[in-house]
């Protein structure tokens, strides 16, 4: 344990070093050799690691502000070599744009449906006024009905985790594809992929119906139930709730595999990343892999396939290609 009982670390000095690393890393001339240096520094002491993670996490959050700037970027952007004065104006304009956009979306709250979307690798947590929570996974689109006390969302694409405060007089309804899920006090996950709808129930219960009202397409789900519905069929399987919970690692940004085939693990990874993992050799697809991986680290996953399964892993134009 590096933590000494007798003296405190110099937090400020460590933090300054961490900030310098973070700043250097954002520069264009940052190389792989620098990566190694940084990893070495991080491994030297947990004090280095925690200081760096903290600054990095806060710094990454600020990139979200960039999205706000897009609409006004072109009209405002001057030629590159201008004097200082216009730049100050730009900075101010950016801040104003941000404020306006925020105000605008607050306004939209009281109007019609609201749409929430995540990009590939993105995640978004929504807290509803009634205490319910919805978390959107990668590449997901969800619309929410507003006003008149109705609680209704449409999952147009992707996957979301629902933790719903039950209210018998105002049931919470998820519309997905040709199906409707009505909560009866519950935590559940819904995923849509093409015309396939998957509902996993963790707590409480929920009902799933087909919009056509056919009784054969209705079921009440209990904890551990995994319902898979397509346009004309529905099946329900039972899984240990613990397993379903472990599949929720994406809420923390990690993917957990346990005796998962490489093919399934790769498919899961590719949901979260623009850089894709490709299995070039069908003979390795059925090998199994286990472990917990950061969902956004394709390189690390490739390295694990290499070391754990002894496979050949190559970088091809940004994609990670795995073969025998």
């Amino acid at each position: 344990m590096s933590a000494s009982e007798h003296s405190l670390p110099d937090a400020s000095g460590v933090e300054e070093c961490a900030a310098q690393w973070l700043e250097r890393r954002s520069c264009e001339d940052w190389s792989e050799a620098n990566d190694v240096e940084l990893e070495t520094w991080l491994a030297q002491s947990p004090a280095h690691a925690v200081a760096f993670m903290r600054l990095e996490a806060a710094w990454n959050r600020t990139t979200r502000l960039a999205a706000l700037q897009q609409p006004m970027r072109h009209p405002l952007k001057p030629a590159p070599q201008t004097s200082r004065v216009p730049v100050l104006k730009i900075a101010a304009a950016v801040l104003v744009t941000a404020a306006v956009s925020i105000g605008g979306s607050l306004l939209a709250l009281h109007q019609e449906n609201q749409t929430f979307a995540t990009t590939i690798g993105g995640r978004e947590a929504l807290a509803l006024g009634d205490g319910s929570k919805i978390e959107l996974n990668t590449d997901t689109v969800l619309r929410m009905a507003r006003g008149s006390g109705q609680r209704k969302v449409w999952l147009d694409r992707g996957e979301a985790y629902f933790d719903i405060k039950h209210d018998a007089t105002h049931p919470f309804v998820v519309m997905v594809g040709k199906h409707r899920i009505t909560d009866l006090g519950t935590k559940f996950i819904v995923r849509q992929e093409g015309d396939r709808v998957e509902v996993k129930l963790l707590e409480g219960s929920a009902r799933i119906d087909a919009n056509d009202g056919a009784p054969a397409h209705t079921a009440v789900l209990k904890p551990g139930d995994v319902a898979v519905a397509t346009e004309d069929a529905m099946s329900i399987a039972k899984k240990p709730v613990k397993l379903l919970v472990s599949e929720l690692g994406w809420r923390r940004g990690v993917l957990t595999f346990d005796h998962t085939t490489l093919a399934d693990a790769v498919a899961e990874f590719n949901r979260y990343n623009r850089r894709k993992v490709v299995i070039a050799d069908p003979s390795v697809a059925k090998l199994e892999i286990g472990g917990t991986f950061p969902a956004d680290d394709v390189t690390l996953f490739g390295r694990a396939a290499k070391t754990a399964l002894g496979l050949h892993v190559e970088d091809h134009g940004g994609n990670v290609v795995i073969s025998q």
């Binding site: 933590a3 009982e5 900030a19 700043e23 925690v50 996490a57 929570k133």
Partner: protein
């Protein structure tokens, strides 16, 4: 899967799992521990007189929490972080005999709500943007200027230097100061101070 030649595969998978705990500990620390910083800071400030040591104590709490997480991820982050802080303060009190020991005892008042999700964990996108905006507003003007050009406009350090009419070293200082102030604001400030009506 027995027919495959690699009999040691299961062992290998286990090894991978062990080596992954570092990344998992990192992911957990960022997602679960950092959002508790304002609660942690309140706790330390209330229980420690020497304000100049607050940042060092926070850092030491983080180090211990992170080291523990590398061995095993604690199930509940909030009670774990606060208990770690309390133990650290108690040890220092015993050794230094400066602060009356009862001052450290009110952990329960903060820990009582341990089961609730920390307020910062579930944030609507709008709220997050508003908070980021406030964090930017709180930066010193020159730092803010550099941060906006870097993070929002995506300019390089050299371009920022040209635009600001200063050297690259100065830009670097504005950026690193900005990074540190942003982290303090985004994680350390109590939530209600950040809210505007």
């Amino acid at each position: 899967m027995i027919e495959t030649p690699d009999n040691g595969r299961e062992d290998s998978a286990r090894k991978v799992r062990a080596s992954m705990t570092v990344s998992e500990a990192r992911a957990w620390f960022v997602a679960e521990v950092l959002p508790l910083e304002s609660v942690l800071m309140q706790y330390i400030q209330r229980n420690w007189r020497n304000q100049s040591e607050i940042a060092d104590i926070r850092q030491e709490v983080y180090v211990r929490v992170y080291e523990a997480a590398q061995r095993e991820i604690p199930e509940h982050a909030k009670p774990f972080v606060l208990t770690t802080a309390r133990n650290l303060l108690i040890n220092r009190v015993r050794r230094e005999q400066v602060v009356p020991i009862e001052a450290v005892a009110d952990l329960e008042s903060l820990g009582a709500a341990a089961e609730e999700p920390p307020p910062d964990r579930v944030i609507m996108a709008r709220e997050e943007l508003r908070r980021l905006q406030l964090a930017l507003d709180h930066l010193p003007p020159r730092s803010r200027e550099a941060v906006v050009m870097k993070q929002i406009e995506g300019l390089s350090r050299r371009d920022i230097a040209t635009r600001m009419g200063v050297g690259e070293e100065t830009v670097k200082r504005h950026l690193t100061n900005g990074m540190r102030a942003l982290a303090d604001f985004l994680y350390g400030e109590p939530t209600d101070l950040r809210r505007k009506p």
